[in-house]
């Protein structure tokens, strides 16, 4: 079956991202049969979360192996919802990250099966990965993690060690080098600032505090001592855990190459651990940095952390402005309106962080 045959199997150009859509199931089956070159039967296709960005669905694929035995796999389908928070999407960065980083010590991630940016197949870019067991915490609820102290410590260590593994990975010799863009270390922070300013609609004008923050970030951009893989959304809530161990680091859609301080600052934002002094409710800042430095051999510069804390809040505020634009362009996801109403508190926090960083 060729890609053009796949395009003829259904009206995928208007495919709704719904688990019960017969088009979705049929086209997904066709795609898997195409890449595996064997008949495939799908079952239990269901939406797992109602996330604001990518849509995550679980399903089971049954196929015959070379010895005619039926093999069943539990898989995850992630679709870049055209109406999602960071649309338009590409599945490639996440796929490159998962395939390049899979198997490195101290980093548990799902195994990537396939991906495509061809919207004619499922209606949007998508990635298929193995299913990994575990549960995710919701960071902004301030809920008790429900873990005992021993489990908290082992999860905390896994959290640090996984980040250290990501940052010490030699991306230059991997497919992730495709994300490079040849941005020099002196320009990395400025490049990322512009990226998020554009997401917020720089050409149309930014809200006052956001505009100020953009100028502030551009004027103080640090030179990246190391250019590493940066997860882009590394925090409590974006990993699965089970019996006191992290089973998978998730949500790689914002992966890019940059300054590792960006991930460190992001993980420590107070927004992700309301009412708690521990990072993500897991580990103290001191213990986090100490273990990270030991694992990586890197130095952490407090002034660069403060810079990237401002950057992190800038990114969040830019995301919310993007949500407002989606409301203005008549999205039918009213949660974008709810997000947009959070802009003033985030801008207020951005103001505070800038004053603190001064």
């Amino acid at each position: 079956m060729t890609t053009s045959d796949l395009k003829r199997t259904g009206n995928s150009s208007t495919l709704a991202v719904k688990a019960d859509s017969p088009d979705l199931s049929r086209n997904l089956q066709g795609f898997l049969e195409h890449i595996w070159q064997t008949p495939v039967r799908l079952s239990q296709l269901r939406r797992l979360t109602a996330g604001l960005s990518w849509v995550t669905m679980g399903f089971t694929a049954s196929l015959e192996d070379s010895e005619k035995k039926t093999k069943t796999q539990k898989l995850i389908l992630r679709i870049g919802d055209p109406k999602g928070l960071y649309a338009p999407y590409s599945a490639q960065p996440e796929y490159l990250a998962l395939t390049s980083l899979f198997g490195i010590p101290n980093l548990s991630i799902p195994r990537a099966i396939a991906h495509s940016d061809d919207c004619a197949i499922l209606g949007a870019p998508f990635v298929i990965t193995q299913y990994v067991a575990g549960n995710a915490l919701v960071p902004w609820s301030g809920e008790d993690t429900g873990q005992n102290e021993k489990e908290r410590l082992t999860v905390a260590n896994d959290f640090v060690d996984a980040l250290a593994a990501i940052h010490t990975f030699d991306w230059t010799r991997s497919p992730l080098a495709a994300l490079s863009g040849n941005v020099p270390p002196s320009d990395i922070a400025r490049h990322e600032t512009r990226r998020w300013a554009k997401h917020a609609g720089l050409a149309e004008g930014l809200p006052l505090q956001l505009h100020y923050a953009m100028r502030w970030l551009e004027s103080r951009s640090p030179v990246a001592e190391q250019v590493t893989v940066v997860h882009g959304d590394y925090r409590v809530g974006n990993y699965l855990q089970r019996k006191g161990r992290i089973t998978a680091i998730l949500d790689w859609e914002l992966v890019h190459l940059g300054d590792p301080h960006e991930d460190l600052a992001w993980a420590g934002l107070r927004l992700f651990s309301p009412g708690k002094t521990l990072i993500g409710g897991l580990i103290s800042r001191e213990a986090f940095y100490e273990r990270y430095c030991m694992r990586t051999g890197f130095s952490i510069h407090p002034e660069v952390i403060r810079y990237y804390e401002v950057f992190g809040m800038f990114k969040i505020a830019a995301t919310l402005v993007g949500a407002i634009h989606r409301v203005e362009s008549r999205t039918d996801d009213v949660r974008m309106a709810a997000l947009g109403l959070q802009l003033a508190p985030r801008l207020f926090e951005l103001n505070r962080l800038i004053k603190e960083a001064k």
Partner: protein
């Protein structure tokens, strides 16, 4: 208050009509939803952003701008020109315009302040920067107090 209030109400009506209504099983629920959609459609024509919040925002902008202008004059600096304004605003439209215009001037001030070619002495620069940050802080404070944290977990969790 950085978005259209009418747009918010329309988005809510759209979500109720297009995403919730098809999922309802009972006549009673459908009737309630029809009532809610109707209320929202009427509100679209009647509501505006709180003038009290806008006045607080404008006062912070005006106070900050005045302090910055005074400081710059004392230092002998030439600031970006400010747009003429009807003072004080007489109605909601003028109030919203005044806030927009005040913020536009502060945005121009940001660009001037961060311009590497700006010859402003470090001390004066730091003082004007602090006045600008304080002005923005004051403009955001009331809205910050009024807007409670969103319940993201209820908006993203999987169903039982």
């Amino acid at each position: 208050m950085n978005q259209s209030l009418v747009g918010l109400l329309q988005a809510t009506r759209r979500a109720l009509r297009e995403s919730v209504l098809p999922e309802l099983d009972t006549d009673y629920a459908r009737a309630q939803l029809a009532g809610a959609v109707d209320v929202l459609s009427k509100l679209e024509l009647l509501v505006v952003w709180s003038p009290d919040v806008l006045r607080v925002r404008l006062a912070a902008i005006d106070a900050g701008s005045a302090a910055i202008i005074a400081r710059a004059e004392a230092a002998g600096c030439t600031l970006p020109p400010s747009a003429p304004r009807i003072s004080p605003p007489q109605n909601q439209t003028e109030l919203e315009q005044a806030v927009r215009s005040g913020e536009q001037w502060l945005i121009a001030l940001c660009d001037w302040l961060f311009d590497p070619k700006n010859q402003l002495p470090a001390n004066e620069r730091e003082e004007i920067d602090t006045l600008l940050l304080d002005s923005m802080h004051g403009a955001l404070a009331m809205e910050r107090r009024l807007v409670t944290e969103a319940n993201y977990s209820s908006m993203t969790a999987a169903g039982s």
